[in-house]
Symmetry: C2
Subunit: 364 residues, 2 copies
Amino acid sequence: LSGALPVFVHPAYDPSWDLAYGMTPASVAEALAQHPETRAVLMVSPTYHGVCGEVGQIAALAHQHGIPLIVDEAHGAHFNFHSELPASALASGADLVVQSTHKLLAALTQSSMLHLQGSRVDAVRIAQLLQMLQSSSPSSLLLASLDAARHQMATQGQTLMERTLQLTHQARAQIQQTGLPILERPENPFEGFADLDPTRIVVDLSTFGLNGFTADVALTESGVTAELPTLRQLAFIVSLGTTPQDIETLVRELTHLVRGCKASAVQSVAKSLSLSPGTPPEIPSLSPREAFFAPHISVAIEQSVGLISAETACPYPPGIPLILPGEQITQAAISQLQRIKAQGGPIVGCADPDLKEILVVRSP
Amino acid sequence: LSGALPVFVHPAYDPSWDLAYGMTPASVAEALAQHPETRAVLMVSPTYHGVCGEVGQIAALAHQHGIPLIVDEAHGAHFNFHSELPASALASGADLVVQSTHKLLAALTQSSMLHLQGSRVDAVRIAQLLQMLQSSSPSSLLLASLDAARHQMATQGQTLMERTLQLTHQARAQIQQTGLPILERPENPFEGFADLDPTRIVVDLSTFGLNGFTADVALTESGVTAELPTLRQLAFIVSLGTTPQDIETLVRELTHLVRGCKASAVQSVAKSLSLSPGTPPEIPSLSPREAFFAPHISVAIEQSVGLISAETACPYPPGIPLILPGEQITQAAISQLQRIKAQGGPIVGCADPDLKEILVVRSP
């Protein structure tokens, strides 16, 4: 919407889990040095899998450059309410933080909060921009639910999160006995993995030769809803709404799932991390906005390699696009999208949901 | 958001009511001839006061130019369900129609519908654009309420609107006896006023020397909520939720309001219309988008005449901006805003809600 040109920074990548964690402070510092015209840093923390990056260090880097740090803390709305949880982005010095109050706290779906602190971001400007994007007839139900969620956490947050954490610890201990590897906070945190939200339980099914998407279907039929199925993992949320019975069902069904499956060597978090596979995306020649509005044509996906995409291709969940408008389409991105699609993962954003064709910018 | 440069077309203006009606087909044809590069026509019909323009004729003009007609039919979601109501924009040939289902039908607030017909607008493109603007976590409550409203009108729409129209006719007859002028469909419709939604009751208080904003406060205390107070008028909605008791209260309180006030000469809809007062706004040198993102400064409102606004100044309701980003600020616009503000009407969009200052584009 803004017309900004993105500079992508590589996340730390853990090959043993096939998971991307946070951007490392070193790679952010390098990007800022290479692109002194940068106007803001945007990071996701925690990730969908509960992994928190070095928000404080990255905030300091951004502030040294005189620019704000924006944190997508969609999955961290509960952090502020218990000392055992990771530090919140606001407490770590972020300037602008968006939280999905409906995901981790008790607000109704579609209710979220945008937090602002300090003076690096102009609050009046934010209000004007929100006026352009928000309904002029806001729902009192959604607004009241945000206020109720705020009140609940202000008055009972510590107690509720204490109970949630107890259930989490119980679940983790019991799941461990099934032999399923669980993502844990490393004993010595490394760059890109500063902390872990313990209430996010991520299990690796691949050691048992299982597929996350098909396992998710089976679990759903048994009354267990994973927050995020991927090819190799399932991520579960233990929240203030979780009951002891929920944990019992989760453990029973996971035990049932792996029964009869033979585990291969159990994996653990890598001690050192590599960068993501594949080369980092080039800085696009067109901004996402320019490419989206540029004249475009639809071409067969096999013939699109090397062309400039005019649209987004995004596995959802987790909602992290593999192709953005303005980006040169790579064989690696297409292969990964086709692999996810073949295994049952939905792809959103494209004109052709079957991914047989893709919109590309027409060469002049 | 799109970066488009607007070409404004004058509405028909009725000095006897001080009301703007629709754009006339003649003025649309003239604008299209002067600006052949136009990509779409956007019109509001009905207006907040229930006045419908010549949607069919304007659709035909747009289609002759090979471009779509978009209609803001926020206040016309009920039109399709009774023959006594004006023709709906879709039935009149519009390509894209937005309706506030929550305003006139029974959906929850914040629920609306975007209708598309024909092939002039690419449905896939619309879906991609909506993905950028809408929540990725839509509320089931809001969605279900849209479906419930749709079901209600599909199965009981005719009956409900028949009852609503009966209440409307009763209300109009009884209000007439108070001496308050009521906006009526002209016997011979003229350009810009093709039809009137009878369920929208607009009374002119100025003949009794009353002010709409202060009258609205008094009525609200008596349990009557006007949909739209303006300096001279009050507009009321009779909807499928209105009861005979509501009409009784409305008539009683309006009677009470004018008791003791002496009416001056009663006005009626003008037989011929002039264009709006003031010169039409020039085509801005900057698009609203360019002006909003341009370097800007805040200046005292008195010193802003002739400068290019970097923001919107909009009396709300009705939500029709008097100043848009990119527009040259006129003394007439400032005077009108200050007049509305002094009489109690809220102004939104500006960084300074007190309107002492306004953001203008910094001259290069």
